[in-house]
């Protein structure tokens, strides 16, 4: 990617004409890139000491007429190390240009597609090349990025295939607005919404995020613009950072004709299931019984119990299985059921999914026109039965010089993403929330003496779910996985077209058009017969929602540049942008299924709109300008500003202007400090601002309507009600400010380079959906209040400790970042805002506290801070909610090592997260139910909760506390200890170390390849998340903190039995010809 260059630049120089003198000779040859061994189009060849020069053609070939008296040619290409060749008596000179390790010369794509050398940038930009993105086991581009970009925090909602992913760059800037970054693909915005129709307590926590439609294998390069100074030209949408993606089809780089095919195959397994115990079985208080819990007697005692299906309280269950009655006589003697450790859920329920990816890239062209076509097919099976994704990605990019002055570059992608998944919903350890099903709710604590794999899960007479509990009151997880499904079928069309007209050498006009449109059909298909859950779901439920999301985006950009002297130059950019977003969702929800297995709304007795119908449109218009000044290649000044008009506030508040400025200074060049120790040093300082706009429809009051409010005796009644949300006509855009300082250096003959950023971001008059006292008549309003401050540090270092002549290199990259987001004030007398979760257990914004602190029910404590135990031996709850933890990691880091030798390349990426609390119901549910290998304890003993108990009064009338001595059973100790009156025991320190990626690749030697029809061939084996360790979790939980129970959004640090993470392992073969 270092040689990535707009074809415009190549064509520019190609058409240059130079004066040619007499006594000349002609030299021809090819300029080759070290990176891929291919010809380098658009490289410049200059005759040293003259102005005579030329550029290479699309295959890297050149021909230059060298005037007499000249004997040296200079070969250069932006981003590569220039080379000089003495001609001597040669007429053919082939040159390989080496990669320039001096990263400051690297070319990066910045806002509005401007490519600039890194040294000219006054703000931090991190680039990620395709070698870090393609042929990964994960198909979600955000997950592929995990740990690779300092300052970017990426969390999977869970490890299921196609589940949503949360991305936050440089901490939080808005309490109730979005903190998700903007994706810009081939220069135009790309919608990455998570279109959940439900909240996390009603089944919406893991809904897909729509970056899923991007094919990671079709990405050529990615730039992450983190600070506001970098993103100011993108307007309000860029305030949370911008992920700039250039696809292979959208790249204007001319490629030699080549077809490359790669095929990957990976296994996909659940990575974070607990290790199950084998000592104790189902029961409570050491007595056997068909409980949720596993606090029964030892499994080695040879006990048998009556078969649970014969003992069921539900007649239809007892009667459906004569095989569980002695001699098949229903109502006679139940058969005996062995009380032993059966196969545990990790294999009895979860599976090893296969992930197959086929990717084809075809590129080619003529000297005026190039094209790149890509096709990707992925079949990704989740580790959970019923979870599967199929993805087709088609890409086609064309770039062409229509005339000498007019260029067109257009890329089309079409994606089909079909995802099916069993439902996931928040669960606490006693079943899913609100009767909405969740595949993980009951399976993880399946009692050890319950034969999940062997017990029939379906009633043969009516297909209903059957399971071990007497009341048949939990859905059999295997039945759920077979008969419940949430699906999402997406068809997405995306086009980016740019027209560039070079008015003169100094002045060009670009018009860019973007259309991103997709339809997503979401379905819930829940067969009848669950036996538990909400009445609607038990009756059979079918819900369909059709979403159409469209972004029309247009930019018109005028570019002008001028070299005033050899030392001083400037460029100017003036642009206009118009963006229109429309979201339409229509839906219908039916319940009361007639024929089992049939999902058609006519097979249901009752239907409603169920709040699924929603329309939203918004439009924004912006005008932006950018001025850059450069002085003598060591001082760069960048000034930018954008003015926006938005459709989401009332007319008088519509407009907002916000500026940015940055300086980059290269002291090593300015003062000639360059040495072998310090090759290059760059210091930068940036100030940036951005606007934030509210969501549409926040300024005016409305009424809620219910067309089917109540029905009695055949009369259906309707209602109107003043909306609880108060419209705020005075709402105005918010302003965010950031100041950023950075240092970049290249040292020790390019063996070490680093990039350090420090920033502080302040948001004032935050647009906040603030709760207001309901006694005003409204419960919330959107209002400009509050202040959040984020300070942070990002650091990236690249070291090459070893590079031997024999070709062995060891390359090492260290990423490190931290952020501190603090709620400075909320304003308006507000004491707290619930950011995510429940009102009594969630992430809160509280003035003076870290943003997102976890508040919940803590232990009541005596004046010395000891937890107080009540007479039942269990901790007493403090009636006041308390801050229980801070879910923000203290810092995160990763270490990527690559060893290469003669075509072999071994890469390993370690990731570490320091602290950051996690509230995990997965852990406490399994511990409280006693199914895991932890806790290691002799359950026949009695236990005492450490703490104090009340013992009358002291002489002064205060409560007297004595050390707790109340003995309780193991069942009570663990069950009530973890699932008792308090949330406090559910918090764990989230420090975690992980082997995020490991791969071993081999590129077949070119000599060998020459004998085959292929140009290149590589094989690689790779894996993600193969090993991990949560340092302060109970060890046998094998826990993974990469989970987000509150779903994509601003919440952090909650796991409501949201599901395990995934680990993937497999191999890839790539052939090019």
């Amino acid at each position: 990617m270092r040689k990535a260059l707009l074809c415009i630049v190549a064509l520019f120089t190609m058409t240059l004409t130079f004066e040619v003198s007499a006594q000349q000779r002609v030299i021809t040859g090819t300029v080759i890139s070290e990176e891929d061994g291919l010809g380098l189009p658009g490289a410049t060849i200059l005759v040293k000491g003259t102005t005579v020069g030329t550029t290479t053609d699309l295959d890297g070939n050149y021909s230059i007429t060298v005037p007499g008296g000249s004997d040296v040619l200079i070969y250069s290409f932006i981003g590569l190390k220039p080379a000089e060749e003495v001609i001597g008596n040669r007429t053919i000179i082939n040159v390989t240009l080496m990669t320039d390790a001096a990263q400051l010369n690297e070319v990066v794509v910045t806002a509005i597609g401007i490519e600039r050398e890194k040294k000219a940038l006054g703000y931090g930009v991190t680039t990620v090349g395709d070698e870090q993105l393609s042929n990964r086991p994960e198909q979600d581009v955000a997950r592929v990025l995990q740990g690779k970009v300092p300052g970017v925090n990426i969390t999977s909602t869970n490890g299921m295939t196609g589940s949503g992913t949360n991305m936050v760059i440089r901490g939080y800037s808005s309490a109730t607005g979005s903190n998700q970054p903007l994706f810009v693909v081939d220069g135009v915005p790309f919608n990455t919404s998570t279109n959940n129709t439900n909240g996390f307590t009603t089944g919406g926590a893991t809904t897909s995020s729509r970056f899923l439609d991007i094919d990671p294998n079709n990405i050529e390069s990615m730039s992450v613009l983190k600070g506001l100074s970098a993103t100011v030209l993108y307007g309000d949408q860029g305030r949370n950072g911008v992920i700039l993606i250039t696809t292979k089809s959208g790249s204007s780089k001319r490629r030699p004709s080549e077809v490359s095919i790669s095929q990957s195959l990976f296994s996909n397994k659940a990575a974070s299931l607990p290790t199950y115990g084998t000592e104790y079985g189902n029961g409570f208080q050491q007595a056997p019984g068909f409980f949720f819990s596993n606090f029964g007697p030892g499994l080695n005692e040879g006990i048998t119990v009556d078969h649970p299906y014969a003992k069921s309280s539900v007649a239809s269950v007892r009667e459906a299985f004569p095989e569980f009655w002695v001699d098949g006589i229903v109502g006679g003697t139940p058969v005996k059921y062995e009380y032993k450790a059966y196969e545990d859920p990790s294999t009895a329920f979860f599976r090893t999914g296969m992930v197959s990816n086929t990717s084809v890239q075809i590129a080619g062209g003529s000297d005026k026109t190039g094209f790149s076509a890509s096709f990707g097919y992925t079949d990704d099976e989740g580790f959970t039965p019923g979870n599967e994704m199929e993805k087709y990605n088609f890409g086609l990019g064309v770039n062409s010089a229509v005339t000498d002055k007019l260029y067109v570059n257009s890329s089309f992608t079409f994606a089909i993403t079909d995802l099916a998944s069993p439902p996931v919903n928040a669960a606490s350890g006693s079943g899913p929330s609100g009767g909405i099903p969740s595949v993980f709710a009951h399976v993880l604590y399946t009692p050890r003496s319950v034969d999940l794999a062997g017990l029939p899960f379906e009633n043969p007479t009516d297909h209903s779910s059957v399971y071990y509990r007497g009341g048949n009151d939990i859905v059999n997880p295997r039945w759920l996985a077979k008969y419940y499904s949430n699906t999402s079928d997406v068809q997405r069309f995306f086009n980016s077209t740019s027209l560039v007209y070079d008015v003169s050498d100094d002045f060009s006009v670009t018009y860019r058009f973007g259309l991103d449109t997709y339809t997503e059909k979401q379905e819930k298909l829940y067969n009848k017969g669950a036996g538990s859950g909400s009445a609607a779901i038990q009756s059979g439920l079918y819900s369909t929602a059709n979403i159409t999301n469209t972004i029309w985006n247009q930019d018109l950009v005028l570019n002008w540049k001028k070299e005033f002297s050899e030392k001083f130059g400037m460029s100017a950019l003036l642009g206009g942008n118009s963006r229109y977003d429309s979201f339409i969702r229509d839906g219908i929800e039916s319940q009361g299924q007639l024929a089992f297995g049939l999902f058609n709304h006519s097979n249901f007795t009752s239907s409603s709109a169920a709040g699924l119908n929603y329309v939203e449109e918004q439009r924004r218009i912006g005008v932006y300008a950018n001025l850059t000044f450069d002085y003598s290649n060591f001082l760069y000044l960048n000034l930018s500003a954008r003015n926006d008009w938005t459709s989401t506030v009332e007319e008088e508040n519509r407009r907002i202007l916000y500026p940015g400025a940055s300086v980059s200074f290269i002291p090593t060049s300015a003062f000639n400090w360059n040495s072998t120790v310090l090759n290059d040093l760059k210091l930068r300082l940036a100030y940036g601002t951005s606007a934030g706009f509210p969501s549409p429809y926040s300024t005016r009051n409305t009424l809620a309507q219910n067309a089917i409010a109540f029905s009695r005796d055949g009369t259906l009644t309707q209602t109107h009600s003043v909306s609880n949300t108060l419209g705020n006509p005075n709402l105005r855009p918010e302003l965010q400010e950031e100041i950023e300082f950075g240092a970049e250096a290249v040292m020790f003959n390019n063996k070490l380079s680093f990039d350090l950023s420090l920033y502080e971001k302040n948001t004032n008059d935050l647009i906040t959906t603030a709760p207001i006292d309901p006694s005003t008549g409204f419960t919330q309003t959107t209002i400009n209040v509050g202040k959040i401050r984020t300070r942070g540090v990002e650091f990236q270092a690249t070291v090459t400790p070893i590079a031997t002549a024999s070709g062995f290199t060891w390359n090492s990259i260290v990423n490190w970042s931290l952020y501190r987001s603090v709620t400075m004030e909320l304003g308006g007398g507000l004491e707290e805002i619930v950011i995510a979760g429940y009102t009594n257990l969630g992430n809160f914004a509280i003035p003076g506290e870290p943003f997102n602190v976890i508040k919940g029910t803590g232990f009541a404590r005596d004046p010395d801070g000891n937890p107080i135990v009540l007479s039942d031996g269990i901790y007493k709850a403090d009636p006041e909610l308390k801050i229980l933890g801070d879910p923000n990691p203290k810092w995160t880091g990763s270490w990527i090592n690559t060893f290469s030798f003669k075509g072999f390349s071994l890469m390993g990426m370690l990731e570490y997260r320091h602290k950051g609390d996690v509230f995990s119901n997965t852990v406490t549910a399994t511990l409280a139910r006693g199914v895991t290998k932890d806790p290691v304890a002799d359950r026949e003993m009695s236990f005492i909760m450490p703490g104090v108990r009340e013992d009358g009064l002291n002489a002064d009338g205060t409560t007297k506390y004595v050390p707790n001595d109340i003995q309780i059973s193991a069942s009570d100790y663990f069950f009530s200890g973890y699932q008792g009156r308090t949330d406090e025991p559910n918090l764990f320190d989230g420090s975690m170390i992980r082997l995020r990626e490991v791969s071993l690749g081999y590129e077949l030697p070119k000599g060998l390849m020459a004998k085959t029809p292929f140009k290149r061939a590589t094989v690689a084996i790779s894996g993600t998340n193969l090993w991990k360790l949560a340092l302060n979790f109970p060890p046998n939980m094998n826990y993974d903190v990469d989970v987000l129970g509150t779903g994509v959004g601003n919440g952090l640090g909650f796991d409501f039995v949201t599901g395990p993470s995934s680990k993937r392992f497999g191999g890839t073969v790539t052939l090019a010809f």
């Binding site: 007497g470 009341g471 308006g828 009102t839």
Partner: protein
């Protein structure tokens, strides 16, 4: 360089045409007027009829929220926390505050000008009656709450008004409401309660005035006495057939219009744990069954469980303070009345299809005909066609019994009211039950019994009459006549924790209630803490001293010793 001028001209032309193109592009997309929400109704299209529907439906939910809490506190149902302070935190009653102010009162405020403009007198009458009830209820549960500064979108920090002044304002609102029910009116509202019988609305208003005066008797006995005497003289309060109840239907979907407790219990079993103490009173305490017991509950088993898997407390001895106080513990009797003791925080064993369930009255479940079947089907019983007994004719008599005894010191009149109250409640339950589709199984059951239901009722009333006569100081089991009145009112308040909680705070009756399992269960809530939604948003909010804070009309002695 000869072509410079020409180039410049060409360039200018290009720039000009590009600007034109740009203007065209943007002009088409300059419409920024996208401010009206296309998904919602606006003020200009709001319907007074639909608003009044919402007000009534939200009121029933508001009632039920307080009622369930009141039933938990007065041991009609189980409260499943170990201590009061963890059961009733600032978060517990957010819903009451939200629903009363931001739904009911905000909608009434929006409706009023529309109704006045349209001459919709009856809309005003119904909505103002509901407004008064909401204000009474808010004062009863919280004490001082925002009123005069409330419901103003321009003031995010309304201050509280004294409970007494709100009570008076609500009383005045009742008078206004009464006026709207007479005279001519446009429109014809949907009346979920009385089907547009406005005579009954006036009777309700008079009954609410009785409730008002009775609550004030501790602070203004003379005023109460005069007020109630006038109401008795006017004799226009709720009588038989005038009961103010919200009645549910059987629609299970789109919309689900069944009694919520039915849905919770009959969908897959489980649901509310009933109170061992209340069931003991209804089945064991008098030596014979209350005739209503089979209507109140349905037993899924008719024998007590012997499995500690299912009911752990059978293997445990009662806490010392239960033993010393002689309270029923774990299981009342032997016949499968399976519930939980007060403040029992245990987890839920597999007893969903075993424990005692809501019966036919008032949730619309099954009549207990000893059939002892699991109730995990929504086709059972009256299919949720239950009711919320918000204010019944029977309650009028119980309130008058208290008035006669406590204000007029007229024990004989009080006895007449007491027996009349029981009679009215028994017949209310009976006629409701026989009006449901459970009538067949009720009749079939009683056909097999040696006595009729009416004979059982008569025997019950005779028994209570004699208990009333023998009650008084010196009788440890029946320490006062007010105890008998309170106990019988309480036994008639199944499904109405609003009034049972008020009764308990006002009279301390029925006394000697089953305490919490934890010896020190904390302060019994004499009122509730201000909710979190108010505390964290309103700069003028200041939390009360605790659950022991008493509302203005509760001048009874402070502390738990009085209520227990």
């Amino acid at each position: 360089m000869h072509s410079n001028t020409k180039n410049n001209i060409t360039m200018k032309k290009y720039i000009y045409s590009l600007l034109c193109a740009a203007t065209m592009l943007f002009a088409s997309s300059c419409d920024l007027d996208l401010l009206d929400n296309p998904n919602a109704v606006t003020a200009s299209t709001a319907s007074p009829d639909f608003l009044l529907n919402r007000i009534q439906l939200d009121y029933k939910d508001f009632y039920q929220g307080i009622s369930n809490t009141g039933m938990d506190l007065t041991r009609i149902t189980n409260q499943g926390s170990a201590q009061y302070e963890s059961a009733y935190t600032t978060s517990s009653t957010n819903g009451w505050w939200n629903n009363s102010y931001a739904n009911i009162l905000a909608d009434i405020k929006f409706l009023e000008p529309l109704a006045i403009e349209g001459g919709l007198q009856r809309h005003l009458g119904i909505s103002k009656t509901i407004k008064a009830m909401v204000m009474f209820n808010l004062v009863d549960v919280y004490g001082d709450v925002p009123y005069s500064e409330a419901l103003d979108a321009g003031n995010f920090n309304p201050k509280v008004d004294g409970g007494k002044s709100i009570y008076e304002a609500a009383f005045a609102t009742l008078n206004e409401a009464a006026a709207h029910f007479t005279g001519t009116s446009a429109g014809s509202p949907n009346d979920y309660f009385y089907g547009r019988n406005y005579t009954r609305w006036i009777k309700l208003i008079n009954t609410l005035k009785l409730r008002y005066y009775l609550n004030l008797r501790l602070t203004d006995e003379a005023g109460s006495k005069a007020g109630i005497a006038a109401l008795v003289a006017e004799n226009n309060m709720l009588g038989t057939g005038d009961d103010f109840a919200f009645k549910f239907g059987t629609s299970s979907a789109n919309p689900d219009s069944r009694h919520g407790d039915y849905v919770d219990s009959y969908t897959s079993g489980g649901g509310t744990y009933h109170s061992t103490f209340y069931m003991w009173h209804m089945t064991e305490a008098k030596g014979f069954d209350d005739p209503r017991a089979r209507f109140y509950w349905y037993r899924q088993v008719t024998e007590n469980s012997t499995s500690v898997d299912e009911i752990e407390c059978i293997s445990q001895i009662a806490p010392p303070h239960y033993l010393s106080g002689g309270f029923i513990y774990c299981l009342p009797g032997t016949r499968g009345y399976w519930g939980r003791d007060h403040l029992d925080p245990d987890g839920v064993p597999p007893d969903g299809l075993k424990r005692t369930m809501w019966g036919l009255y008032p949730v619309g479940g099954r009549f207990d005909d000893n059939s002892a079947k699991p109730t995990n089907s929504t086709s059972l019983g009256a299919q949720g066609k239950g009711l919320y007994p918000i204010m019944l004719a029977a309650y009028v008599d119980f309130m008058l019994a208290e008035y006669a005894l406590e204000i007029n010191n007229d024990a004989a009149a009080a006895k007449a009211y007491l027996l009349s109250g029981i009679t009215k409640h028994m017949s209310y339950v009976k006629s409701y039950a026989l009006g449901t589709q459970e009538a067949g199984s009720i009749n079939a059951y009683f056909a097999k019994q040696s006595t009729t239901l009416d004979q059982d009722i008569a025997a019950y009333i005779a028994f209570v009459a004699s208990q009333y006569d023998s009650a008084g100081p010196g009788n440890p089991l029946l320490p006062s006549k007010m105890y008998v009145i309170g106990r019988e009112y309480w036994l008639s308040l199944f499904g109405n924790g609003v009034e049972s909680y008020n009764l308990y705070k006002r009279t301390g009756e029925p006394g000697n209630m089953q305490p919490g399992l934890e010896q020190n269960a904390g302060d019994f809530p004499r009122s509730f803490l201000y909710p979190n939604v108010y505390m964290v948003t309103n700069t003028n909010a200041s939390q009360k001293s605790g659950l022991s804070a008493q509302v203005f009309w509760d001048t009874n002695p402070a502390g738990n010793s009085w209520v227990y």
